[in-house]
């Protein structure tokens, strides 16, 4: 039985993986990435994750949620991201 007033717990859409919607996937050239965070800033799905790569900061894609819109690739100032048709 659902609760009495259709109340939901915070942040629970994270249980829903929108990554399955994706057709194109952003592929990162880690060596090109300068860790500027623009892709993270502009991602409507909060699906960029900061991580260390050979001592530098890079942003990888969280494939659980990335819908493949391509804003990250479009906005990347150093063309480190390429949108590729995803093999499923």
């Amino acid at each position: 039985m659902p609760n009495f007033a259709s109340i939901a717990k915070p942040g629970t859409t994270e249980n829903y993986k929108t990554g399955s919607w994706r057709v194109y996937v952003p592929v990162l050239d880690k060596d090109k990435c300068i860790g500027c965070e623009r892709c993270w800033e502009f991602c409507p799905d909060s699906s960029k994750i900061e991580e260390e790569y050979e001592g530098d900061t890079i942003f990888r894609t969280d494939l659980d949620y990335c819908k493949g819109c391509g804003i990250c690739a479009e906005e990347c100032p150093v063309d480190a991201l390429e949108m590729e048709l995803e093999e499923k």
């Binding site: 859409t13 991602c43 409507p44 900061e50 819109c69 391509g70 479009e74």
Partner: protein, 297 residues
């Protein structure tokens, strides 16, 4: 460490379309709000995509009531907090352009006029997107929507976009600002300011909609930026009635650059007489440039 606030208060898993400007706008706005906040939200894309029972994308307490009452509900929340001596909690009201400048205008006007300590955020994607791209009072001139379609006898929407920022300012409220998802730092700073200022404040965020505007999701941010760079969407603040901090434009671009990638303006480039209509839009940009002294020497 990321430069902007790391914490996400509008989380992943929401059902907005890929490349949604509104979802990006909400995500950034929530970075400007601290955890000690309560949000209301009007019916619309933002509400529907973020609160499918039993899930929620919101990390702060959030209430959706109806389409046209986000501001009035927020006023009630704020009154209750005052009654309980909890004025330290921020109240943020949210709505789309339809829920704000059209059907929600009465309740917005009342809330602003009564001086509630509420920051109102309008996510402006310039039509009723959730119901299938019908024209709103915020739809720009000559845009084709499903209720203002271009056709043999029509160039789309016949009216100029309603200036809700000016209407908000007419209530003599302490702070009014326009923002864009293409300028996250600016957006966050403005929403933060709107929250910090005691009293009613209004921020309107320009949020491109790939589905409604007819463009690929990857150029959402680019289009938002072009709207600013052409002078069609002016970024400014109005504090205590005075216009401040207008974002100047270097080498203002012709409006075609903004219009061309969008299907809603496609007819202007195909139909006879379209050129004059584009000129009409250019004149809007030019008059903005003149009014706000947009052009940087």
């Amino acid at each position: 460490m990321t430069r902007l606030e790391k914490k996400e208060r509008f989380t992943s898993g929401h059902r907005a379309c890929g490349g949604c400007g509104l979802a990006l706008g909400a995500r950034l706005a929530m970075k400007a709000v601290d955890d000690n906040s309560i949000a209301t939200c009007a019916t619309g894309c933002l509400e529907v995509t973020s609160s499918p029972y039993p899930q929620s994308s919101w990390k702060i307490p959030w209430l959706h009531s109806l389409f046209e009452n986000s501001a009035a509900v927020a006023g009630g929340v704020e009154a209750a907090l005052r009654a309980k001596g909890k004025q330290d909690i921020n109240v943020v009201a949210q709505g789309g352009d339809g829920g704000t400048v059209d059907i929600g205008m009465r309740s917005l006007s009342g809330m602003l006029e009564r001086g509630h300590d509420v920051a109102y955020i309008c996510y402006d994607n310039e039509a009723y997107m959730n119901t299938g791209i019908q024209r709103s009072g915020s739809t720009p001139m000559n845009a084709s929507t499903t209720t203002s379609p271009a056709g043999e006898e029509s160039f789309g929407n016949e009216n100029r976009k309603k200036n809700a920022l000016k209407i908000a300012a007419a209530h003599n409220i302490p702070y009014v600002a326009s923002a864009s998802v293409a300028y996250p730092d600016d957006l966050i700073e403005k929403v933060k300011k709107a929250n910090e200022i005691n009293g009613p404040t209004y921020v309107q965020i320009h949020t491109p909609c790939p589905t409604g505007w007819g463009h690929e999701g990857d150029i959402t941010v680019k289009l938002a930026r072009l709207a600013v760079e052409t002078g069609l969407w002016v970024l400014y603040e109005r504090e205590e009635g005075e216009i401040k901090d207008v974002k100047k434009i270097k080498d203002r671009k012709p409006v075609e650059e903004y219009l061309k990638p969008q299907k809603r303006f496609k007819h202007l480039f195909k139909k006879e007489g379209g050129e004059e209509r584009i000129q009409e839009i250019q004149e809007i940009a030019d008059s903005n440039a003149e009014k706000f002294h947009l052009d940087e020497e």
